[in-house]
Amino acid sequence: MSARPGQDPADSAEQPPADDREPVGTTEPGRAEEIEQEKAREGAADDGETDDRWQEAFRRIISGGWAVALGAILLAVIAGSLMIIVTDEAVQEAAGYFFSRPGDTFAAVGEAVGGAYSALFQGAVYNFRADTFAAGIRPLTQTLNNATPLIAAGLGVAIAFRAGLLNIGGQGQMLMSATAAGWVGFGVTGLPFPLHLILALVAGILAGALWAGIAGLLKARTGAHEVIVTIMLNYVALYLLSYFLATPGLMQAPGSANPKTPPTPESAQLPPLLGERYTLHWGFVLALVAVAVVWWILNRSAVGFSYRAVGENPRAARVAGIDVSRSTVSVMLVAGALVGLAGVTQVLGTVTTGFGSDIDAGIGFDAITVALLGNSNPLGVLGAGILFGAFKAGGSAMQAAEGIPIEIVLVVQSLIVLFIAAPPLVRAIFRLPQPGSAPKKKRSKAARKEVSA
C-alpha cells in the first residue's frame, strides 16, 4: 500500500493549483517524508473507511462466481417449475375453465410445483413420511453416495482445467480404472480384507492416472490437442473393456454369456460408512479427502502454483523456468488419478455385483458440468457434486411420487449449466454488478462491440 492516488482532500492542499507553472519537484518535501505522510494519511483514512470496506467486500461477493452460481440455480429451478406447470395434467384441466374459477388454476399450479419440489427434497434429503429418523435420513445418504464419483471426477476435470487443459476423457479414465480395480477385486484371491481393498484401490487409481497420462504425454511431446486425444481414448477404453467383458477368461463372469464381470468379493469392498442399513460407503470419505488434497495442491503447493501459472500464461511460466511439458503430463496424471478414484468407488463401493461397460454411468461427462458449476475450485466442486447427487436421488423420487418425468430434472441441471456459462445474463436478471473494474471482461465486451459495430 505504498500509494493510493488522492483519496483524501488533503492531497490537493499540497499540490499546486492547476494553473501553477512552478515545477512541483522543487517545492515538495523529500521522497521519504512524502511516503511517511502518505502512510499517515492512509491510517487516518482507514478508520472512516470501515463502511466502505464492508461495501467493497459485499460488492466482491455479489460480483463473484458464487452469486452467479446461486442465481443460475434459482433461475433453472424457476424454469423447471414452469415446465412442471405446463406439463401437469391437473393444471391443464383447471386452466380450461380459468376464467370462471381462476383460483382452481392457481391451486393446481401450487400443488404441482410444491408437490414436485417437495418430492425432490424428500427424495434427496429427508423423507418426512419415514417412521424413524434413521429411515428418514436415508435419501441424504443416497445423495452423498451419488455425489461421491461426481466429486472425485469433477476434481479431475477441474484441476486439469486450472492448468489450461480440457479433460474430456473422464469416461475412458473411469472405465480403465474400473477395469483395473475390478480385475484386482475378483481376479486376485486369498488376500485379507484391508489389503485386498487397498490393492484394488491403488490399481484402479493408477490405471486412471496412466490413461489420462497418455493424453498428457501426447500433448506435451507432440502438441496433439488434449480434447481430441482424450475423446479418442474414451472410445479405446470403451471397446477395450467391451472386448474384455465379452471374452471368457478375461473379465467375463465364468459361466455367464453376459458382458458382465463377476461380483467384487467382500475383501475388496469399500465398507459401509454408517452401517449396513445405508448404501453410503467409505468412498465418500475418500472423495472428501480428495477435495482437501486438491485444495492444498492448488492453493498451497508449489506444483499447483506451476499448474496454475501454465494454465494462465504458459509463455511466462516457461520463461520463469517452469517445465511446461512436465507440468502437462503431471497434471494429467493427477487428474486421471482423481477420475480413477471415481471409477474405483463405483466398482468397489456402489456396484459390487459385477459391472458392464456402462459402469461409468455418464459420470465422466457430468464431471465436466460439475467442475464448471464449481468454478474449477475444489470446494465448489464438492458443492456442485452434492447438488447433482441430490438431483439424481430426488429425480427418481419425484417421478415415482408425482409422476413428473425425470427428464425435468435433467433439464433443470442443464439449464443451471447454461446459465452458469452466461454470467452477464444472470447478473443482469438479478441486477448484480457486472465486473466493470476487470479490464479483461471489459475487453471482451469491447471486442464484441467492435465486431457488431
Binding site: G6, A18, S301, V451, A453
Partner: protein, 506 residues
C-alpha cells in the same frame, strides 16, 4: 474536432484512478499527457474510448456531450486509439485486424479482404512505413505490431487520436517516423493526445502539456521548459537524469559466449556466430535496431532455445543445453523484453508474480508447500523498495499500470542472488523517476562484481549505462565499442557498417 473532458472521475473500488480531471484538446494540437506510473493516464484514455464507464463527468466533442456505450461508439464518433497494451487478435493477419470492427463485405457475408489489404497498404504508404498485410500478428515483432495498432487507428479517419505510450516499444528511428506522422496529422487538423515518459519526444512534438499525478491534474507545463524541470513535474520531485557511476572495477566473474548460433524452426539463422565476453563489474549494452537478433540472443542465454549451438560459459561452467530452470538456478536473472507475455501472469497477484521463478525450493517452498507468510512479507518489502504503486500485494498484476508491472518484473529478477543479470529493455514504459532508480540498481549490481547485459534500443540509455556497447545487425555482431564512441559511429554500426578500428576496450 475539439475534445473536452469535464470532471472525469473513475474509481476502482477504493482507489480513485481519475479524480475530477478536466482536459481540453483543440483541433490541430498535440497535447501531451505526462505523469508518473499509475497516475491514471491510461485510465482516462480508456474512459474516453468507452472502455470504462466514468463514475462522474462528461465527454464533449465539438461541444456536444457524448455517451459512449463502448469503443464502437467512440470510434463512430471519430476517436481513434493506440493502446499501451495492444488490442490485436494474435492469430489474425494484419489486414484482418485492421478490418475488425468495420468489416466490408461483398455478397452475403463474404469478407472483402482485398479491400482491407488495400487499406493497410494505402495507410502504410501514406505515412511511409512497411507492413505486410498478410502477416499474422503474433509472428510480428512488437515494433511492427505497434505499427499495426497505429494503422488500425488511422485507417478509420479518426478526428481525435489518442496515442498511449506508443513509443515504448519503438526504436528511435521508428519513433522519429511516428513523430512525423503525428505532425502530419496535426497539420490535417486532428486533435491528438500523446502519452509518453520520454522527455525528448515531449519536447519535439508537444504543443501543450498537462501533468497528472495521483489521478488529478496538477498543472500545465511549457514544452520549452528544461528537461529536469519537466522531469520533476512528472514525478513530483527532483530527478537525476544522468547515470552516476564510477569506472568499472573488474572481478574474476565472467560470461563468455562463443560462436552462439540460433535458428528459427524454419531454419532462418537469427543469431549468427555471436561471440563476446562480459566481465564481472561491467555492463555490456546490446544496442541495435530491434529485430536484429537481440531478443533471440538473450533468450538463448537463459535456455529458451534448446537447439542453439555454440557455448555459453558462466564462470567457467557451460550453460548451453541446460533447461531454463537450471540456468536460473545458476544465478541468472532475466528481464524479458515483453513483460505481459513473457514476464508476468496477469491473473496472478503481485505476490504470486514476485515468486514466479522461485518455486523450486527454499525459502518460498518447503516440502512442496508454498510459504505464504514469507512470500507476502517478501512481496510487501519489494513493493516498497521498488515503489510499485498498488492498493495491495493481492491485486492481480494485470490491473497495475504498465510501468508498475515492469517494476514487478524487475523486483523479482533483481532480488535473487545473481551471478549474471540479463535485462532486455528494463525501463520500457517506466517513468523518469523509476528509470533513475532502476539504473541505479543496475549499476549497483555491476558494482557488486556481477556481469550485466542490458538490451536497449534507446541510444541515450545505452550510452548512459554501458561500459561497452555491442551492436547487432542481422543476427551478427557488428562491433563492440567503448561507451564514449561517437553517436554517429554507433548509428552507422546499427545500419551494419563496422567501425574502422575494432574497439577492444575490455
Amino acid at each position: 474536432m475539439r475534445l473536452e473532458l469535464r470532471g472525469i472521475t473513475k474509481r476502482f473500488g477504493a482507489l480513485v484512478a481519475n479524480d475530477h480531471i478536466d482536459l481540453v484538446v483543440e483541433p490541430g494540437e498535440i497535447h501531451c499527457l505526462l505523469g508518473e506510473n499509475g497516475a491514471g493516464k491510461s485510465t482516462l484514455m480508456n474512459v474516453l474510448y468507452g472502455l470504462y464507464d466514468a463514475d462522474e463527468g462528461e465527454i464533449l466533442l465539438d461541444g456536444e456531450v457524448q455517451d459512449f456505450e463502448g469503443p464502437g461508439d467512440a470510434m463512430n464518433a471519430g476517436i481513434g486509439m493506440v493502446h499501451q497494451h495492444f488490442m490485436l487478435v494474435p492469430v489474425f493477419s494484419v489486414a484482418e485486424n485492421v478490418m475488425l470492427g468495420h468489416e466490408t463485405t461483398h455478397g452475403p457475408g463474404i469478407l472483402d479482404l482485398s479491400a482491407a489489404r488495400e487499406t493497410v497498404r494505402s495507410t502504410a504508404d501514406r505515412f511511409g512505413f512497411h507492413v505486410d498485410p498478410d502477416a499474422v500478428v503474433e509472428d510480428l515483432p512488437v515494433g511492427v505490431q505497434q505499427r499495426v495498432e497505429i494503422i488500425k487507428a488511422l485507417s478509420r479517419d479518426a478526428q481525435v487520436l489518442v496515442f498511449d505510450e506508443p513509443t515504448a516499444v519503438l526504436t528511435p528511428q521508428e519513433t522519429d517516423e511516428l513523430m512525423a506522422i503525428m505532425r502530419q496529422l496535426k497539420d490535417e487538423g486532428k486533435a491528438i493526445v500523446f502519452i509518453t515518459h520520454k522527455l525528448r519526444e515531449v519536447r519535439e512534438v508537444a504543443d501543450r502539456i498537462t501533468v497528472v499525478r495521483h489521478g488529478k491534474v496538477v498543472g500545465e507545463a511549457d514544452p520549452t521548459a528544461p528537461d529536469n524541470e519537466l522531469a520533476s513535474l512528472m514525478v513530483g520531485r527532483a530527478v537525476q537524469l544522468t547515470v552516476d557511476k564510477q569506472a568499472a572495477r573488474h572481478t574474476d566473474n565472467e560470461l563468455a559466449v562463443s560462436h552462439l548460433q540460433v535458428a528459427t524452426p524454419n531454419g532462418q539463422v537469427v543469431v549468427d556466430d555471436v561471440s563476446f565476453t562480459v566481465r564481472g563489474g561491467e555492463i555490456l549494452v546490446i544496442a541495435g535496431v530491434q529485430g536484429n537478433g537481440q531478443t533471440e540472443l538473450t533468450e538463448a542465454l537463459i535456455g529458451l532455445h534448446p537447439d542453439a549451438r555454440g557455448s555459453i560459459l558462466l564462470d567457467g561452467s557451460e550453460l548451453r543445453g541446460r533447461s531454463v530452470r537450471k540456468v536460473l538456478d545458476a544465478g541468472v536473472g532475466f528481464v524479458p523484453e515483453d513483460r505481459s507475455t513473457d514476464g508476468l501472469v496477469g491473473e496472478f497477484s503481485i505476490a504470486e508474480n514476485l515468486i514466479l521463478d522461485r518455486t523450486d525450493g527454499a525459502p518460498f517452498v518447503r516440502a512442496g508447500s508454498l510459504q505464504l507468510g514469507l512470500r507476502d512479507e517478501f512481496a510487501r518489502e519489494k513493493v516498497d523498495e521498488f515503489d510499485v504503486r498498488t492498493t495491495g500485494i493481492d491485486l492481480p498484476v494485470g490491473r497495475l499500470s504498465g510501468g508498475n508491472q515492469q517494476k514487478v518484473v524487475l523486483a523479482r529478477e533483481m532480488s535473487r542472488e545473481l551471478r549474471l543479470l540479463v535485462a532486455a529493455q528494463p525501463t520500457r514504459g517506466v517513468d523518469v523517476g523509476s528509470i533513475e532508480f532502476i539504473h541505479q540498481r543496475i549499476v549497483e549490481t555491476r558494482d557488486a562484481g556481477i556481469p550485466v547485459i542490458v538490451v536497449s534500443t534507446e541510444l541515450d540509455e545505452a550510452v548512459a549505462l554501458a561500459d561497452r556497447i555491442m551492436v547487432m545487425y542481422r543476427g551478427r555482431v557488428v562491433g563492440i565499442v567503448p561507451a564514449d564512441t561517437p553517436r554517429d559511429v554507433l548509428g552507422l554500426m546499427m545500419a551494419g557498417v563496422a567501425p574502422e578500428t575494432e574497439g577492444d576496450a575490455a
